[in-house]
């Protein structure tokens, strides 16, 4: 049986990029959400959690409307990048971002909030500004949990189907990710291809979950 491995590589590439973006943006949003006296933070928290509970088709629809070629954003993007965003592999990254982002923000916020306040208080009283407190104290202490969440986000974004198919479509060799390829194989009666890909993605997901659990344990002698 000749299996086209392009969907696997595309999925890995899409998930990696989405996770990286989610990590950078997510840490920042999570940090904002841990600020006391930041009004409306619970509303923002709820808003960023929304993608976790809405049906993927609903999200796909929103994104299609927001990012489509007729939308202001879509036109702006097209004028800068020279090609539309929708129905490219980059749209698959956006789709994956909607899985990785909320997961990361939620977990990173919990991780940052679990850092005992005395450490941050000590750092501030020693003259450190917020930037130093975050990079040298809060984040290192929360790092294991953040890394575990990143792994989880990567595994989750590897498997998106609904948003991807609405936003990036199912173009073999261009936008066909692993989960879309599995659907395609089943539809096309290629059971052996579907079986192989299903096993591959299951094994990958299991490996990542195992890794996430291992990473989630604290590395310091003292319980945090």
């Amino acid at each position: 049986m000749g299996i086209d491995w392009f969907p696997l590589w595309l999925s890995l590439r899409v998930a990696s990029l989405a996770t990286l973006i989610a990590l950078l943006g997510g840490l920042w949003v999570a940090w904002l959400l841990t600020r006391k006296g930041f009004r409306g933070r619970e509303l923002i928290d709820a808003a960023v959690t929304l993608p976790l509970v809405l049906p993927p088709t609903v999200l796909g629809y929103y994104l299609l409307v927001l990012l489509g070629r007729m939308s202001p954003f879509g036109r702006l993007y097209e004028s800068i990048a020279g090609e539309p965003l929708v129905f490219t592999w980059k749209a698959a990254v956006v789709a994956a971002l909607f899985h990785a982002g909320p997961l990361l923000i939620k977990s990173a916020r919990a991780a940052l909030e679990s850092v005992p306040p005395d450490y941050e208080k000590a750092a501030r009283s020693l003259g450190a500004g917020e930037w130093r407190v975050f990079w040298q104290v809060s984040l290192p202490l929360a790092w294991n949990q953040v890394l575990a969440a990143t792994t989880l986000a990567f595994a989750r974004s590897l498997g998106d189907f609904g948003i991807t198919i609405m936003l990036a479509g199912n173009i073999p060799g261009r936008t066909q990710t692993l989960s879309v390829a599995i659907y395609d194989a089943v539809e096309g009666g290629r059971g052996d291809v579907a079986r192989t890909l299903v096993l591959v993605i299951s094994a990958a997901a299991l490996a990542f979950l195992y890794l996430a659990n291992r990473l989630g344990r604290s590395q310091f002698g003292r319980a945090l």
Partner: protein, 357 residues
């Protein structure tokens, strides 16, 4: 030197009772103790001074530098307040070595001076061979010394210690107290020490503020407060006072004596001869504080009160008995023959102090 006046109210709500901190502190160059039971607002006061909690009203001056003034809208962030904080559980950063912890604090110095200063501090605090270790690889005494060294490296104008000896055993405590006295002399940094340990307060404090329920109940030298608590609440904290409800039934200024009728919670009643209390009237109801170790006892004493033995507590510093009326007497070493059921105790007039109820 601190000159602070602060008020912070917590309205209370679901599951929490309202609380108001309302204190005025003035302290000198030495060690100032904030003493009080847990929940009195001691740590909250430190948090207000260090800038972690914003008071509703008031102002805070440290060495004549304005850190906070609600009226003028001044509220320096913690990093500009130059308050070196040491928390109950040392709070050395667990992901850094001891050296890195100290390095973190000395950020104001240029690189070479920074390295030298950190090395000096490790040496000064007898930690010179432990710089590479993580906090969890250090003993509790070493961690505590490390966190003081770290706080001093940031060149603080004031050292705030929140129960720094918690979790240290008796021997380490003594060592730690000695170190703290040296530090105060050497570095010339005023220290505010929060504790609910009376021995620690007496050992280290040059002045003391007793906090009860968010308010300062008494201020002064620790020994003086210990010898003459101003109120029943303060006397209770000293852990060696009997508090008796009494009525003045006779007063005689010519002999400088008064007669007091004592009525205790369990219904025991007796009369005592007290000193003349200027300013109090016949029939006044007062609260008396009587130190446990100032009550005389023994069958041979004349003019004593007969009380029954209720309970015996054998403590490290001697035996303490509880007699009827809830009266505690410190009796030193317990006789080998056991303690008698009937006690004859005598209260010296001068040991009867009137305190605010």
């Amino acid at each position: 030197m601190i000159d602070a006046r602060l008020r912070k109210a917590f309205p209370g709500g679901r599951g929490s009772t309202p609380f108001e901190l309302n204190v005025e502190l003035k302290s000198g160059a030495g060690v100032t103790v904030l003493f009080g039971p847990s929940g009195a607002g001691k740590s909250l006061t430190l948090d207000c001074i260090a800038g972690f909690v914003r008071p509703d009203e008031g102002r805070i001056l440290v060495n004549d530098r304005l850190l906070f003034d609600a009226g003028a809208g001044v509220n320096l962030p913690p990093r500009q307040r130059r308050c070196g904080c040491v928390f109950p559980d040392d709070s050395l950063f667990p992901h850094m070595s001891l050296f890195e912890n100290l390095w973190f604090a000395a950020a104001r110095l240029p690189r070479r001076a920074r390295r030298q200063k950190v090395g000096e501090m490790l040496e000064r605090f007898h930690l010179e061979n432990l710089g590479a270790r993580r906090p969890y690889e250090l003993s509790s005494g070493q961690r505590q010394r490390g966190s003081i060294a770290r706080a001093l490296l940031s060149q603080p104008a004031l050292l705030l210690l929140d129960e720094p000896a918690r979790g240290l055993d008796a021997a380490l405590r003594m060592e730690f107290y000695a170190l703290l006295r040296e530090v105060r002399g050497e570095f010339g940094v005023p220290v505010v020490l929060v504790t609910h340990d009376l021995d620690e307060a007496l050992e280290l404090g040059e002045s003391m503020h007793v906090l009860v329920a968010g308010k300062i109940a008494q201020s002064g030298a620790p020994r003086e407060i210990f010898a003459a608590p101003a109120s029943a609440a303060v006397a209770r904290l000293m852990d060696c006072y009997n508090l008796l409800r009494a009525e003045i039934v006779a007063m005689d200024p010519t002999t400088n004596r008064s007669r007091l009728r004592i009525a205790t919670a369990d219904g025991t009643e007796f009369e005592l001869i007290g000193p003349y209390f200027p300013g109090l009237l016949l029939g006044a109801k007062v609260t008396l504080a009587v130190r446990e170790d100032e009550i005389e006892h023994g069958p041979e004493l004349t003019g004593g009160v007969q009380l029954d033995l209720r309970r015996v507590a054998r403590l490290s510093r001697g035996v303490r008995v509880e007699l009827s009326g809830g009266i505690h007497v410190a009796v030193g070493e317990a006789p080998a023959s056991g303690l008698s059921k009937q006690w004859n105790v005598r209260f010296r007039p001068q040991s009867l102090r009137v305190v605010k109820a």
